[in-house]
Subunit: 333 residues, 2 copies
DNA sequence: ATGAAAGCGCTAACAT
DNA sequence: ATGTTAGCGCTTTCAT
C-alpha cells in the first residue's frame, strides 16, 4: 500500500501493456486507441500515477508555475488580489509561487530563484526591483507583467486601475461637496500608484482653481499615516479633505482623525483608493475609488498567458476604470 | 545579449574549462579547487547561469517547493500567517506554492497537482479535504502538516494556538468583568478552531456555574455573523457577552452590535480570537486572544523541514499558548 | 496507432 | 580534486 516511490509512466505502461509513449500521449491528447486509453487510465488509477511535473518541465520547457513577487500582504487589498489571481491562474492551468520580498534587502538571491525555477511567467505586484527583474526575465524569455503598480517608464507591461480617472473622481467629489483645502497622504516615490494618484489629484484640484493640496508621506503604514494626519491637521492651513492614495492609509487616516476629536465626513472628508473590503465596514465607511478587481486580474492573466503562448507582451499599461464609492467618511450629513 | 536558451551547466563548464560535474559541485558544496571554483563562478556570472531547478529536482527528488492549501485569504489573520510563513520558509530554502481552494468543488484535480509537482511538503491551513490529502501525500512520502486548523482525530501532524488556554482566558475575562449570560458565534463544524474554541469556552462557563452559553453560527462570514448577532440580541435570554471564535467574526459582531444601538464593552462584551491586526484598530478595538504567530509558524516550519530531512513527522498537534489582549469591546468603561 | 530511442539539465556514484 | 557515466521521468521525433 505504502510505496514511497511514486509510480512513473513506465510503471503504468507495463501494467497497461503499452509503451511509455502511449501513456504520455494519453495524458497529452495524443493519438491513442480508445481501448488502449481505457487500459492506461485504469492502470494509472490503480497505481495512483500523477505525471511528474519536474520531468515534464524538463522536456517541454513549461513549468506551469507563475511567480508572484510582492512585498507583503499587509495592504488589505492584496489578499483580495491574490485570491482572485490564484483562481484565475488555476483556471488557466497555472499555480502561483509566492516570493514575498518584505525582509529581502538583496536582489540577487531572489533573481536566482525566480529564474532557477524556470517559471512560465512572473507577476510583479511591488515596484521594488521591478526594472531589474523585468530585464533579467526578458533576457531569459520569461514574460513579466506588473500588477497594480506599474513601471512609470512604460518599459514593462502592466495592468492597473485607471489612476487618473480615480484621482479625478475623488477630486471632483471633494469639490462638489464643498471642500476647499485639500491634502494628499501618499506613499513611496517608487510606487506608481502613489505617484500617479497624487499627481492626477493635484492637477485636478489645480485646474479647479483651488489652493494647491498639502502633501504628507504616510509611508504606506498605519503608524506613518497617523503621524501624517496629525501633522496635516495640526498645521496651517488645516485641510478640510484628505485623499489617501491607498485604502490602508485611508483607514488609518480616518481613525487618526477621530482620535483628534474630529468627525470624518462632517468636519473633514477622507478618501482612500482601491475599495478593499475593510473600507466598507460600518466602523470605517471610507469613501474610495473601487479598483475593478476581476477585470484587472483577468486582463493581467490573459495578457500573461498569451505571452506564454508566444504572443509577445507589449510594454503597454492597461488601465482599467473603476468607480467612485461614496461613504460616510466624505459626506457631511 | 538576448539569448533565449538559458545557459546550462555544460555551457558554464566549457567556458570555465572544466566538466559539468565540477560546476555541479561548485554549486552544491562539493570538492572544487579554489581556482577552479573561481573560474566557474566567473563563467556562471558571465552567462547568467542559474541551475535549472526542474532538472535538479529530477535527480535529487527535492523540489524546494512547499504547497500551501488554503481556502482563501479572506480571514484577516491569514495574510499575516502567509507572510510569516513565506519568510520562514524562504530562510529554510523553500518557496510556497499557493493552492487556494475557494471555488474548488472537486478534490481530485487538486490532488493531481499537489502530487504532480513533487512538493517537498504540504501545509494545510484549511480543513476541507484535509484527511484525504494527508493520506494521499503520506502514501507518496510527502510530509503534511496542518496549520492553525488541525485534524481533530489527531491523525495528522499539526500546529495551532492553544485553543483551550485561549477560550478559557476569554471565559475568565468575561466572568471577571461580571458577564452572566454568554453566547458563542462559531464557524463550521469541520473547523477544529471553531469546534475546540466553542467547546472549551462552553465548558469553562459551565464549570463556573453560569448559564450555558447560547450558540449561533456565523459561518465564518461577515454577513453570517451579522445575522447571528442580530438573532442572539433579539432573542431571549439576551446575552451580555459574545465570544466569536475568530477575529473576522468578532469584527463583524462588534459592528452589528453597534448597528443595533448597543455599545460593545458597556452594553455587552465581544471577543474574538487570533489578534489579527484589524482587531487592534481604534475603530474596532476587539478583545481577543493573541495567537503567537511567529512561534506557530516557526514550529510548523521546523517540524516540516525536519520531516523533509528524514525525521518522520509525528501525528501530534503542537499547541502554543498566546495571550489575552483586552480592548474596549469588553471593558465597561 | 504505437514503440524505440534520443534528449531535456542536472546530480551522484565511480574511476582516476 | 576532477572527469566519465548513468540515470531521474517525461516528451517527442522518427520509424513502422
Amino acid at each position: 500500500m505504502n510505496k514511497l516511490r511514486p509510480a512513473t509512466s513506465l510503471d503504468v505502461a507495463k501494467l497497461a501493456g503499452v509503451s511509455k509513449s502511449a501513456v504520455s500521449r494519453a495524458y497529452n491528447g495524443g493519438y491513442v486507441a480508445p481501448d488502449a486509453r481505457q487500459k492506461i487510465m485504469e492502470a494509472a488509477r490503480r497505481l495512483r500515477y500523477r505525471p511528474n511535473q519536474a520531468a515534464r518541465s524538463l522536456s517541454t520547457n513549461r513549468s506551469n508555475l507563475i511567480g508572484l513577487a510582492i512585498t507583503a500582504l499587509d495592504n488589505q487589498f492584496y489578499p483580495e488580489l491574490v485570491d482572485e489571481l490564484s483562481d484565475a491562474l488555476a483556471l488557466a492551468g497555472f499555480r502561483l509561487v509566492l516570493f514575498t520580498t518584505r525582509g529581502q534587502a538583496d536582489l540577487e538571491p531572489l533573481l536566482d530563484e525566480l529564474l532557477g525555477f524556470r517559471l512560465d511567467g512572473v507577476i510583479l505586484a511591488s515596484t521594488s526591483f521591478a526594472t531589474r527583474v523585468a530585464t533579467e526575465c526578458a533576457d531569459s524569455g520569461i514574460p513579466v507583467i506588473m500588477l497594480n503598480n506599474i513601471d512609470m517608464g512604460e518599459e514593462i507591461a502592466g495592468v492597473c486601475t485607471d489612476n487618473r480617472a480615480g484621482a479625478e473622481a475623488i477630486a471632483q467629489h471633494f469639490i462638489e461637496t464643498g471642500r476647499r483645502q485639500m491634502a494628499v497622504i501618499h506613499g513611496f516615490d517608487e510606487s506608481s500608484a502613489s505617484v500617479e494618484r497624487t499627481r492626477f489629484f493635484t492637477e485636478a484640484i489645480a485646474r479647479a482653481g483651488l489652493p494647491y493640496p498639502l502633501l504628507a508621506n504616510g509611508q504606506y503604514t498605519f503608524a506613518g499615516t497617523g503621524e501624517a494626519t496629525r501633522a496635516l491637521i495640526g498645521g496651517t492651513p488645516r485641510p478640510d479633505a484628505i485623499f489617501c492614495v491607498t485604502d490602508l492609509m485611508g483607514i488609518a487616516c480616518i481613525q487618526a482623525v477621530r482620535e483628534l476629536g474630529f468627525k470624518p465626513g462632517r468636519d473633514l472628508a477622507v478618501a482612500g483608493f482601491d475599495n478593499a473590503q475593510a473600507s466598507a465596514w460600518p466602523a470605517i465607511a471610507l469613501t474610495t475609488y473601487a479598483t475593478p478587481l476581476k477585470e484587472v486580474v483577468d486582463s493581467c492573466v490573459s495578457r500573461l498567458v498569451a505571452a506564454i503562448d508566444g504572443h509577445p507582451l507589449l510594454a503597454r499599461t492597461t488601465r482599467l476604470a473603476g468607480h467612485l464609492v461614496v461613504r460616510a467618511s466624505s459626506t457631511p450629513d
